[in-house]
């Protein structure tokens, strides 16, 4: 019952985005993919979410052939940098979306969905905002709603693509503390992409430093910081 990523590669039209990336993490871990832009971290995350298709390599998660499943059936919550909230839906409808689109026999009753929405808004600390539209919220509030929406489906895995990249420093800090609190509360296996090393080290159990589509170093934050294995890692962390 763990996540095993094995030599995943992906080539875009002109350049290789991933060059045999491998790592593994226990169930319930919080992993940060850290690296400069173009290092392939977002591509790897999108492959885990089923939004891109890998050219080669395998991923096993919870004893499933993860890459063989379409995004729709992976039940992996995805949080985008630009929120990607449904603009024409209220906060409540956004959060309930993943439950409402389930086939009839797996769909919770209306009351249950409403209760789930209330609970999730409580969890992301936005109680009472059910009726608002995304355009009426601040950036930080939108990302909290997006997080609640991803958690509503009780995901097997939570994937976050630079979720705080568009927010100012103070809001970033608040949100990452909340994200860690929520992770400890739900225990869902989480992969978090960022180019901000402070953020990566503060929030994760395991950090993968990426460069040119490969994982340069992987380990607990303290180990990586204490013993950078390559010149690139030491330079990147020193910067």
């Amino acid at each position: 019952m763990s996540l095993v990523v094995d030599s995943v590669s992906k080539k875009f039209a002109r350049f290789p985005a991933l060059n045999g990336a491998s790592f593994s993490a226990p169930q319930g871990a919080f992993v940060s993919l850290l690296g400069p832009s173009g290092s392939g971290k977002t591509t790897l995350l999108r492959i885990l979410g089923g939004l891109e298709v890998a050219d080669s390599g395998t991923v096993r998660f919870a004893d499933l052939n993860w890459l063989g499943m379409p995004a729709r059936t992976r039940n992996a919550g995805f949080v985008f940098q630009q929120y990607a909230l449904f603009k024409h839906m209220t906060v409540a409808d956004n959060i309930a979306f993943g439950l409402k689109v389930r086939p009839r026999d797996k769909r919770p009753a209306k009351d249950e969905i409403n209760k789930r929405v209330t609970d999730l808004l409580q969890l992301v600390q936005l109680p009472g905002l059910e009726g608002r539209y995304p355009s009426q919220l601040s950036g930080g509030q939108r990302q909290r709603v997006a997080l609640a929406r991803a958690l509503a489906i009780e995901p097997r895995m939570l994937l976050l693509d630079e979720p705080f990249g568009a927010l100012d420093a103070k809001v970033r800090k608040e949100l990452r503390v909340d994200l860690r609190r929520i992770h400890d509360h739900t225990g869902v296996t989480t992969v978090f992409v960022t180019h901000d090393q402070e953020e990566a080290f503060a929030v994760a159990d395991l950090v993968a430093v990426m460069k040119d589509g490969r994982i340069e170093q992987y380990g607990a934050p303290a180990d990586v910081r204490r013993n950078p294995k390559t010149a690139f890692v030491s330079e990147f962390l020193g910067a």
């Binding site: 039940n75 630009q82 024409h88 993943g98 689109v101």
Partner: protein, 283 residues
């Protein structure tokens, strides 16, 4: 002597007035005056003559035919347009640029040429001509030909309206819907369609206005049989050529009114739903 300080982007008064007057005069002469004259000519013989001309059986038949052709062509082009825009904006595939160019074809090719191409295909001496004749299927000089011509000419309107809108909106919301477990069709209904409804409506209105007014391609394919295959624009020309000016301008006035009605509906919807429109543009 003190000179009035003006804003850096402000022009002198004489220039503002001159440019304004030129623009107004242009709009008046090119747009408003012809429209007014159409209605004036239509009513030149009095209101009774106008209504007599309007209720003439051949005229009524032409109005019916135009509305019928539009009623078939517009929904079809709406479906084609949405499908094309969806494919182009949300997916990457080989030949995408070619498809975009193809969609613009009806804008760049003269409608008369398009009409002639259909004659080559479906005419008596055309590719399918004899086969169709054997099965007693009439396409040329009948409703199917008129509808085909209308579809060809009005194809780009819905697609052209939607493509930039959908490209601008990106794929994030569709991707989010997929990760939340929604099927492609549900995503389209619940996420994509609500996001494009205003652009879609505008495209449909323009498509409809153009479908009713189409002359060139239809004129080649319809055969212009009075009371049977004459659409409104063709009927106007026929009346005009026969020196029936009141009749010609009466139908022209009706056609112009349908166009104005389209614009009025569009303006009304924009005014009525201004808040929602503004909200959907904000991020």
């Amino acid at each position: 002597m003190s000179k009035r300080v003006t804003k850096p982007t402000e022009d002198p008064l004489w220039l503002k007035l001159t440019l304004g007057a030129v623009a107004l005069a242009f709009v008046a002469v090119v747009l408003v005056l012809p429209l007014v004259l159409v209605f004036k000519e239509a009513l030149a013989g009095g209101v009774d003559a106008f209504f007599n001309a309007m209720t003439e059986p051949d005229t009524l038949a032409s109005v019916k035919l135009s509305l019928l052709a539009a009623a078939i062509a517009v929904p079809l082009n709406t479906v084609f347009g949405i499908a094309a825009a969806w494919a182009i904006a949300k997916f990457d595939f080989r030949g995408k640029t070619f498809l975009v160019t193809l969609i613009d074809l009806p804008f760049s090719v003269s409608p008369v040429v398009a009409g002639l191409v259909y004659v080559l295909i479906f005419g008596n001496h055309g590719w399918f001509g004899s086969t169709l004749a054997d099965h007693d299927i009439r396409i040329l000089f009948a409703l199917p030909g008129i509808v085909l011509a209308t579809i060809f000419v009005t194809f780009p309107f819905v697609a052209r309206e939607l493509i930039p809108l959908m490209v601008d909106q990106g794929r994030d919301e569709e991707e989010a819907a997929a990760t939340l477990g929604a099927s492609g069709f549900r995503t389209f209904l619940m996420v994509t369609l609500p996001n494009i409804k205003w652009g879609l409506l505008y495209g449909i209105l323009l498509c409809n206005a153009r479908a009713l007014g189409e002359f060139g391609a239809v004129s080649v394919l319809s055969g212009k049989i009075r009371g049977e295959t004459n659409t409104m624009p063709l009927h106007i020309q026929l009346l005009y050529d026969n020196y029936d000016y009141v009749g010609a301008f009466a139908v022209a006035a009706l056609l112009a009114m349908l166009g104005l009605l389209t614009l009025a509906i569009k303006s009304f919807l924009e005014w009525r739903y201004a808040d929602e429109l503004a909200a959907s543009h904000r991020h």
